[in-house]
Amino acid sequence: MKKNLLYFDNAATAWPKPENVYRFMLDFYRDTGVNPGRSGFDLALEAGSLLDKLRQRLTRFFGGDEDAPERLCFGYNATDALNLIIPGLLGAGDHVVSTNLEHNSVIRPINHLVRDLGVQATFLPFDSAGFIDPHAVANAIRRNTKLVIINHGSNVIGTVQPVREIGRLCRERNVTFAIDTAQTAGIIPINMKEMNVDVLAFTGHKGLMGSMGIGGLCVRKHVELRQVRSGGTGVRSAHPYHLEEYPWRMEFGTPNMLGVAALWAGQDWLAEQGGVETIHAREMELAQKLVDGLRPIDGVHLYCCDSLQNHVATILINIDGMEAGDVGVMLDVDHDVATRAGLHCAPLVHQQLGTLDIHGGVRFSIGPFNTDGQVDAVIRAVEDIAAWRKQRQQARAAAAAR
């Protein structure tokens, strides 16, 4: 790990990972890294056993149907899962309701269906605090609406949407409700049954503390999801088509067993910490400290964080008169602070915030290994950059006046 780096880019990937994750990944892959579910020798069965146990464990973790753990299917990441969910639920003439808070992992698959199949789409704006009004979702539902898909937690401004209420309204209207949990899985508690969520997409390398390259979807029993891919399943090889039974229905080719091992160990670690609520509470204390420290700095703008209720620890800022990218470079080079500056693959958020013209904003995303002292250092860094910006502006104004 790079010495002295203040890592505030946990919304891109949680880093570092807990030591037990690194250890278990390596040990498992070295000792049991054979192809699961294909060959019948004992070691292959052992590898398959971890896969099956993880399905059960994550189904419980997400509050899915515990009597149908096969509906927890693994893929590469949330984007991969969303590319199964969105075209798997929508066809020509269907309507989908989504929001301006979405990541391109939702926007682009929808836009492709709009362009290629004539699917109709409604993207709802968020309010000034960064939230979607559940009744606006209900009002947007039409007779041909087949799917409501919402970013559970924004990867740009950190707001967590009222999915329970949105889910209830969708359920009443018999519309499938899906959520993208890339920023919330392993960070805030999720219970699909209680939240009326029909389908959930997750990634493994963020709050779940697994590795990159593992993610997936959890599909409730009453949901019919069409296959949009096909290939090897390791079973019933003589069948000419991809299998319709879960998990094979939504899994294609050899799974990422290194990632499976990482997710398993990540679950152990989350439990050892006292659960996601405990970690989240600590992260939000740091987020509040960061907001309180940044707010008084002259020239610093914060977005959608007047209150950090229903928030994950992701804070977006800009500094007057500076492009986000320049602030990011200065934080990195002069202060060893790693952030993400730009549009965060979520252009509609920045369009609505009015930050497209300055190429987005600077995002600080706090993870379980950040400390009070690091937050203090970040505040000092932003103070320094904002002061430099002010001096530079004054010097320019003086030069222009001469």
Partner: protein, 108 residues
Amino acid sequence: MSDCSIFEWNDLRLPLDEDGFLQQPERWDPRVALALASTEGLTELTDAHWKIINHIRDYYRQFDIAPMVRKICKETGYSLREIYGLFPSGPAKGACRVAGLPRPTGCV
């Protein structure tokens, strides 16, 4: 070539992308650098500017990618703020652009 515009400077006509990066890198020469620098509000390029431009071009020729900003600072001896003083748009959008490099990739 999309979202391209023609930038005219003295007798030069340079196709630039939407962010002002040179679309035909083979056309770069010191006069083109001066033309591009004018879009930064610069009327001349000093030895300090050239030290940075030459470092960036040498690195790009060798690795086909712009150098990391830390590397530019370390190799040229200029701090990041000094680089912003020389190229008001900074190392990427200023110095790399004047050096004729294509627009760096990144999530913007």
